[in-house]
């Protein structure tokens, strides 16, 4: 076997192939050109998208300028627009989603890779991934008919009784609220965070676990002190993936968030997000300024997404410094 492979690698054997490579046949040139085009198409598309958003929003940018992101009026009748509550709502609902989803999905991922019997690993992971295939309007309907009644009757009053000293859990309980939207988002985000962090944890070399156990660590200590830190950059990557999904989610959120253009300290209060406002108002927006303001919102959403992603990548880079699982992929 060894002899054979050595012979294959000798210049003699490679000789017939080499000239054709050097000749640089047309098919190679065309193939390379096509691939380059395909690679360029994505950034070009992105540039075109940004340009379209910007040109659509020009009217509103000219009228409101930077005040658009700091003011809170949204009045299509007098054509006064400010998107601060929308930006606030987008960030807070996504944050609530991550606060709930990350510990849960990380727990599931650790259980599945470190503790679960082999027989149930695959089925559980498969079932969780199935959650990602459910259309978001179904999540929204389920939220309206099942989740909201449960939240309003039992969960929210309980939260208010126990944590009522915090401003986060005060005020009237309607049902549709920032918290309800955050909860539905967390369910939608979980499969992404779970499956990516599970892949990352599985990629941690067994030598790491063995070394830790050999030093006298319990399995729990081995996971916390060795496995998770080793995979941390990959796990942060998984969280970013979930965050991206949460920031842009539209249908389920608009069905559960209450669509109130206002900023409230309480998570029980209704709110609004950028994606929801665009989806709600775009089809019936009649005035040019109204349309332009919605395009401006889309532009701001784009910028927020880019900033959040860039920030998260910077975080990984600082945390991981090129080591660990998954950091190279990001």
């Amino acid at each position: 076997m060894t002899a054979l492979s050595e012979r294959e690698l000798t210049p003699d054997a490679a000789a017939p192939a080499k000239p054709s490579l050097e000749r640089g046949s047309y098919s190679d040139q065309i193939f390379k050109g096509l691939l380059t085009l395909a690679a360029l198409a994505i950034p070009l598309l992105l540039c075109f998208l940004v340009y379209e958003l910007w040109s659509g929003a020009r009217l509103a940018i000219g009228k409101f300028g930077f005040d658009f992101v700091t003011t809170s009026t949204w009045d299509p009748v007098t054509e006064e627009f400010g998107a601060f509550p929308l930006i606030f709502g987008t960030l807070i609902s996504s944050l609530v989603a991550l606060v709930i989803a990350v510990p849960l999905s990380l727990g599931v991922a650790i259980y599945l890779t470190e503790f679960a019997p082999k027989a149930i690993r695959q089925p559980v992971a498969f079932l969780l991934s199935l959650l990602a295939a459910i259309p978001s309007v179904v999540y929204g309907l389920w939220g309206i008919f099942v989740l909201i009644p449960i939240l309003r009757k039992s969960v929210f009053p309980l939260l208010r009784d126990v944590f009522g000293f915090l401003p986060l859990f005060q005020g009237a309980i309607y049902g549709p609220s920032m918290l309800a939207a955050g909860i539905i988002l967390s369910i939608m985000v979980m499969p992404y965070v779970m499956s990516v962090s599970r892949e990352v944890l599985m990629a941690v070399p067994n030598t790491q676990r063995e070394a830790s156990l050999a030093l006298g660590a319990t399995r729990w200590e081995a996971v916390i002190t060795t496995v998770v830190p080793y995979a941390r950059s990959g796990i942060i990557g998984a969280v970013i993936l979930g965050l991206g999904r949460a920031l842009g989610e539209t249908m389920a959120v608009t069905m559960l968030i209450g669509n109130r253009h206002e900023i409230a300290a309480s998570l029980f209060a209704p709110g609004y997000t950028m994606a929801a406002a665009i989806a709600n108002e775009f089809s019936e927006a009649v005035g040019d300024m109204h349309l332009s303001a919605l395009a401006y919102v889309a532009f701001v959403l784009f910028v927020v997404t880019v900033v959040v992603n860039a920030g998260a990548r910077l975080l990984i880079w600082r945390v991981a410094r090129g080591s660990g699982i998954g950091s190279k992929a990001l």
Partner: protein, 358 residues
Amino acid sequence: MVGRLPLALASLSLLAVLGCDGGRAPAPAAEQAAGAPGAAGAGASLTGAGATFPNPIYSKWFDAYNRTTGVQINYQSIGSGGGIRQFTEGTVDFGATDGPMTDEQIAAVQGNVLHVPTVLGAVVATYNLPSLGAKPLRFDGPALADIFLGRIARWNDRRLAALNPGVALPAQDILVVHRSDGSGTTYIFTDFLAKASPDWKTKVGHATSVEWPIGLGGKGNEGVTQQVKQSEGAIGYVELIYALSNGLPAAEIRNPGGQFVTPTLKTVSAAAEGTSFSPDSDFRVSITNAPGAEAYPISSFTWLLIHTREPQSPKNQAIRAFLAWMLKPAAQRMAADLQYAPLPVPVIELIRRRLGVS
């Protein structure tokens, strides 16, 4: 082969309809109308876009019209705003809208537009107060406006009690629910509130989406309905057909004649009947708060937008031929079957005269 015979029969029946109905109309006009589909040709097609509210009846009409004449009409229910935009940009042959175009929008098409009323829509105030019986609550415009402004915050408010003598209104907070998506329903409702209350007019105004002073936003009729059904003490507004088909409680509203009117197809048609049109009307008429003892005050037309210039062009001929067909009793009955309030006869006559069809 299979398609030919029904088509021929359908053409015959169309001619028969034209024949029966043409008794009053001058003969040349009848010929013109009958000739138009032929001129446009079987298999001709038209494209339109706009309002979602009349989409069920439009689909039914376009389908029936296609079967009788062979003219294919593609309609995309993308919303009134999109309908007006596409009509203005000339990407569709006709538009459709629940709220009439503004003067600026008409200027943008150099006045080359006519609003043609097709059916009527109405909005009902629905509420969730299980302690009350089946007898509907009564509101007037100013009280409704003050509820949606947040000034009347409790159900046992003095003014609501005065409107509903003998009803034991609960001492409960009112939860206001409104549409979150831009909608013709919101347009009609806020148009009514703006007419009923000067404060509403200056503070909020009327449009397909407005800045609501208070309340929760539900997406679509079903979103509002769910929110109202799930919260005791809630009040919201939904489209009449949706309320009727889902058996929601519907409040009686006081009209300018002082009558409390239950929303039904009949009272909505009465609102259109009570409105007076000048002969050269452009039909951009608001019929909220219309006069007439029977008239339900939160009613409105929904319109098709067609070009007025070059009425002889093939596309415009084809659209006019369809409109002539739509105004006939058979087509109007289809509207009633789908629970749309049909146009009253005087309005139909006026539209016919304006279009020059019979």
